[in-house]
């Protein structure tokens, strides 16, 4: 990676923080209206231990939900990509399921599995993030040009060989595009549950405790921590994409 690729985004972040600080200072907002970056530093200092443990909670549950979403989403996408009947049957169900705002599902799941905090958090992260993955895989597979299939079929290749040699690699760029969307969605799912669930853990629960104690800088500090985790996961996905589907990038 070139130095430029690190410096440019870093400068952008610094400019953003300065602008934020300046805005709060110029408007003279108190920190319960809008905390400024300089308010956040004491918040992080005070709760550093909590940020580490809670941040880890949020991170692993989000990743667990994402992994499940990838497994289930890819399987579902394959079923819909290879079978027209299954596609016709499952699409309305899937779209309907996705249209239900997950914020309304969170209390239901929280009650349904009350006490199983890890489980219901992972479940929501999974539910909110598998849809784009399933859709992208199914579209990737169903739009495979017939000539690709014919080239291998005429050689006597099995369906499984066609899948591994052509369909799967050809779908990877779409899959990673969807995974980038899924990462941020999974974070939303995890946090919704962490905020709503009583005696929750994770950054969402920390946010909720900030609200309860009127500790506004803490709430803003949680938001920034979430943004940071989101960026880290996103770039992990980007690195995976470069490794496995770098061939699709025409800009290099």
């Amino acid at each position: 990676m070139k130095a430029r690729q690190i410096i440019v985004p870093l400068v952008a972040v610094i400019v953003f923080l300065i602008a934020w600080e300046a805005l709060v200072w110029i408007m003279g907002w108190p920190n319960y209206k809008m905390a400024s970056p300089s308010d956040l530093i004491p918040a992080y200092e005070r709760y550093w231990g909590l940020f580490l443990t809670m941040g880890w909670q949020t991170l692993w549950r989000t990743v667990a939900g994402l992994v499940l979403a990838v497994i289930f989403g890819v399987a579902l996408g394959m079923v819909m990509g290879f079978s027209r009947t299954m596609r016709d049957a499952l699409y309305p169900l899937l779209v309907g399921f996705n249209a239900v705002p997950k914020a309304t599902v969170v209390p239901i799941v929280a009650l349904m599995f009350v006490g199983w905090h890890d489980f219901n958090t992972v479940l929501i992260a999974f539910m909110i993030s598998f849809f784009p993955i399933a859709v992208s895989v199914s579209i990737g597979l169903s739009t495979l040009e017939p000539e690709y299939r014919d080239i291998l079929r005429s050689l006597g290749a099995s369906q499984a060989t066609i899948f591994w040699k052509i369909a799967l690699p050809k779908t990877l760029p779409e899959f990673f595009g969807a995974l980038k969307v899924a990462v941020t969605l999974a974070f939303i799912g995890t946090n919704l549950m962490e905020i709503v669930s009583p005696h929750g853990r994770g950054l969402g629960a920390l946010f909720d405790s900030g609200k309860t104690n009127s500790d506004y800088p803490l709430m803003f500090a949680v938001l920034i921590a979430l943004a940071f985790l989101g960026i880290v996961l996103y770039y992990i996905v980007v690195a995976l994409e470069k490794t496995f589907a770098g061939w699709a990038d025409r800009t290099v």
Binding site: E147, I151, S154, L155, G156, K165, P169, K170, L172, W247
Partner: protein
């Protein structure tokens, strides 16, 4: 119409009828298709667009089993895909995530063969050099022009030494100069790597330049309407396309296409 004295028919299609099932009932695409290609022969199939030419290639490849009639390769009736065909289409369908060399090697990963890894790579390199792609082995398809992709696609179709090479309008999307370059490449390839070929095309000049027999199909449902044999004149050059004989052949074929399209009654002189 067909010479009966041809014993060494590698591809033999007799009385083939086929319909596609569509929402509005069966759509006949082939009705009375006859075609035979001797070993080492190269047959070009021309006909009005949408007449079922591509269906013919799928029959020979075993990707499609006809409703009626027989498709035989080497005397064996084709009922499923066999690994002894190589195919190239108008769309070169190279795998973007593989290098050119890896693309050419793809069939050897599927077809059982006795080549070692090193031998396979040597053969792929030789084929690539034959079509003028030496030095491009490690490039990705996206780095190649349309004509170069088509050359690579041709190497992939030949790597496993197929008995039958099926070319479905492989040069159709190329500009005129690139196309003529590739015609000459085809002659070079055929001299070095003999194959039995079926070429689907809608370019009459291409058909008489490359093939030793041109078959004209009628409009859909396609039947064999006319067969023109082209005497072997050795390695052909582009100049051969501008001889009186070539002009006469083109005239005959153009007339047959017009008949197939229903624009000219069959009796009219060409």
């Amino acid at each position: 119409m067909m010479p009966d004295d041809m014993i060494d028919k590698l591809i033999d299609i007799t009385a083939v009828r086929h319909s596609y099932r569509t929402a509005s009932g069966p759509l006949p695409v082939l009705d009375g298709l006859e075609l035979s290609v001797p070993e080492g022969g190269f047959v070009a199939v021309v006909g009005p667009s949408g007449c079922g030419k591509s269906t013919l290639t799928r029959l020979v490849a075993g990707l499609l089993i006809p409703d009626e009639g027989e498709v035989r390769v080497h005397g064996t009736r084709i009922t499923a895909p066999r690994s002894n065909v190589g195919m190239a289409f108008q769309n070169p369908v190279l795998l973007e995530w593989r290098t050119i060399l890896q693309n050419v090697l793809l069939p050897l990963e599927i077809v059982p063969n006795k080549l070692s890894r090193a031998e396979a790579r040597d053969r792929a390199r030789r084929l690539l050099a034959l079509v003028g792609l030496d030095g491009f082995e490690d490039k990705r398809p996206s780095e190649l022009s349309g004509g170069m992709k088509q050359r690579a696609s041709l190497c992939r179709a030949l790597i496993h030494q197929p008995e039958v090479l099926i070319l479905d309008e492989p040069f159709g999307a190329l500009d005129a100069f690139t196309r003529e370059d590739l015609w000459q490449t085809m002659h070079k390839v055929k001299a070095e790597e003999p194959f039995t070929g079926v070429l689907i095309t809608h370019d009459l000049r291409e058909s008489i330049f490359l093939a030793d027999r041109v078959v004209v199909l009628s409009s859909r449902p396609a039947r064999t309407q006319f067969v023109l044999d082209i005497p072997d004149t050795g390695l052909r050059t582009l100049d051969d396309l501008y001889t009186p004989e070539a002009a006469e052949r083109l005239n005959i074929l153009r007339h047959q296409i017009e008949v197939a399209q229903g624009r000219t009654p069959a009796g009219d002189a060409a």
